[in-house]
Point group: C2
Chain length 376, copies 2
């Protein structure tokens, strides 16, 4: 009964294919979990490329994001197993297969790229890569096409097929969602920093001699943080501390803040309240508890002669010691009504002189390295 | 050849089951897209319950979130087709099958609840619902169990099986990720509001007679927005406008802001600069462009006698007209050094008198309705 035999073979084949589909759908579900479990844009991009490579059983996966302003596609490539080699290549809009997909918003399989006029040889030439076949789908949010997800060179002898296409479209939808969530989060974060920075700046503007002080202290302390190898989360808290360190000046009267001459001892005693006032303002913000010590103690000195509490050495929190160095350097290198700004070189010498006395040794060291490398 | 026949039947059966699995995995992928395409916590919860119901082919799906502080599970139920009937029931920790799963972090199928000691009849009694079978899995983030996802009463005669369990575990993982992203977004949003509010408050504290003014204006304008049926996004912009409307006072000197008597015409002219100063501060914040008009024009009047630009009627942006009403009411109902606060009733009468002259009719109407309903 040969006919029977053929049926069984067909069924077995069908069963095999469908079991494979189950496997790939389970993989898709797993990959989409990995994609969505971060809000970091760069990390999502990396995971998207790897997911496309893995799901398509391809040699290479890539994600191109549309940059509307410059009418370009921002191109990133993950080279399969050699995943450390991620290259960034800018492409003009409409250029190549990816450009076609981005422009038309339609998916595409090209199993003979050499015969396809849309294929752009430039990338192969620049990456020393031989493209045998390509599968490419648009990455769309509700409103627009934000990019293109593609996989190149399917492993094995066959090219990409309809089933690959349906899976890659699903993955691209997940990528679009993950990128969109990340964008919303980053926009909110930027709004937070811009707003607090502008308000801190406005508070500071009452003192005409400190224009731009907050921004400079933020810049210097981030440079110090880099050389102290602080973790990303610590750098974020340091950034917020820098922005808000002088917020307590809101509580100091105009005539003292704006006095165009050296302050009397009594006036200086009043100014000293600003770190405590700042800490009190911040204390009311539940989410900013982490930065209270930095704001409160940014005028403490290693030798215990600082204010408000006269803390010594290790008693002073690290973020406060970083702000202290950045703050001191900025005070020395900007004009005051009663004296001119010091030269940068002289100010650095002065920091060295204060190292271990007023200022923390390690922090000054990090500052000097940042300065030597032209980052300050 | 009966043996051959049996084999074919078995294959056909296997094929059918595996085809069903493909269908359900594709559904899981679709549901996880829907879950992740919002950052709104409530909406994610609703979608999670619906997804559990649909994926499990059950009558009811529910999501219980762990409230660590009160040692309770916060219970929401989506009643299948009758999805409008979502009920909220608090459960004590450890109570019932869901409580067991939350405590042990292990999934559970109970196909004969009446025989299971963990089953808690209270919910059935309160919801007039007959539980035939239950499938229940923990919702875990990287660090902890944040809740429990369950489906009740599988449609058809069979109970829940291992395949259901594996699918529901995958769905619960997606739910955990979506809820975690939403939590991170909402925490950042709260940090933004708390910080700007505290800074605005600090700026305002220089004027001791306006303590709490920003918070009250925010409260009043949100109540007005409700009765004007503003969209959620408009309410959010209005909230930011309320918080920052007086930020320009940072540019007004102490002696005027703190003067314990009526201002002279010249001093009042200086005060009038605050709306322009505020707008200038906000203009520098790219993400807050939407609120510049509200801040700039919150002292304009319908009759054109306001400041800074003497705009009339429809020329004044809606958000500015809302802040104007909230601001006027708060000014009347708080003490000033040179006069006592007006009674609330008298202040409302005064708003009515100004309606259509200084203040917008529709906005005053909305204010009065909010006031009548005890929301102001």
């Amino acid at each position: 009964m040969p006919s029977k035999k053929i049926d069984i073979d067909r069924w077995l084949d069908k069963l095999k294919r469908i079991e494979e589909k189950v496997e790939r759908l389970a993989l898709l579900s797993h990959l989409s979990q990995i994609l969505n479990s971060t809000l970091d844009h760069k990390e999502i991009r990396r995971r998207a490329m790897e997911a496309a490579t893995q799901l398509m059983r391809a040699e290479v996966g890539s994600l191109l994001l549309v940059d509307e302003e410059n009418q370009r596609l921002y191109f990133e490539v993950a080279l399969g197993d050699r995943e450390e080699e991620i290259k960034t290549i800018p492409l003009h809009f409409g250029e190549g297969i990816a450009g076609w997909v981005a422009q038309h918003g339609r998916p595409l399989i090209v199993n003979s790229p050499e015969k396809d006029r849309r294929f752009f040889k430039g990338v192969d030439e620049r990456t020393e890569f031989k493209t045998r076949n390509v599968i490419c789908v648009p990455v769309k949010t509700k409103k627009k096409i934000i990019g293109v997800l593609e996989a190149i060179n399917k492993k094995g002898k066959k090219g990409f097929d309809k089933e690959d296409l349906s899976l890659l479209i699903s993955l691209a939808d997940q990528v679009a969602i993950a990128l969109d969530n990340s964008r919303l989060y980053q926009e909110l974060e930027e709004m937070f920093f811009q707003t607090t920075d502008s308000l801190a700046d406005a508070i500071e503007q009452r003192d005409p001699y400190t224009g731009g002080h907050t921004q400079r202290v933020t810049l210097y302390s981030q440079a110090i943080a880099k050389y102290l190898r602080l973790k990303p989360s610590e750098r974020k808290w340091l950034k917020i501390t820098s922005v808000l360190h002088d917020v307590g000046k809101i509580g100091i009267e105009d005539y003292i803040l704006r006095k165009p001459a050296r302050l009397t001892t009594k006036e200086f005693d009043t100014i000293k309240h600003h770190s405590n006032i700042g800490a009190k303002i911040i204390e009311h913000i539940r989410q900013l508890k982490e930065i209270v010590p930095g704001v409160k103690y940014h005028h403490e000195q290693i030798n215990g002669k600082g204010y408000p509490d006269g803390l010594k050495g290790k008693e002073i929190p690290l973020l406060a010691k970083i702000i202290a160095v950045a703050d001191t350097y900025d005070a020395m290198t900007t004009d005051r009504p009663y004296r001119k700004a010091m030269q940068k070189k002289a100010a650095v010498e002065e920091l060295k002189r204060c190292s271990g006395k007023q200022l923390d040794r390690e922090v000054v060291k990090a500052f000097i390295r940042a300065h030597q490398n032209g980052e300050i």
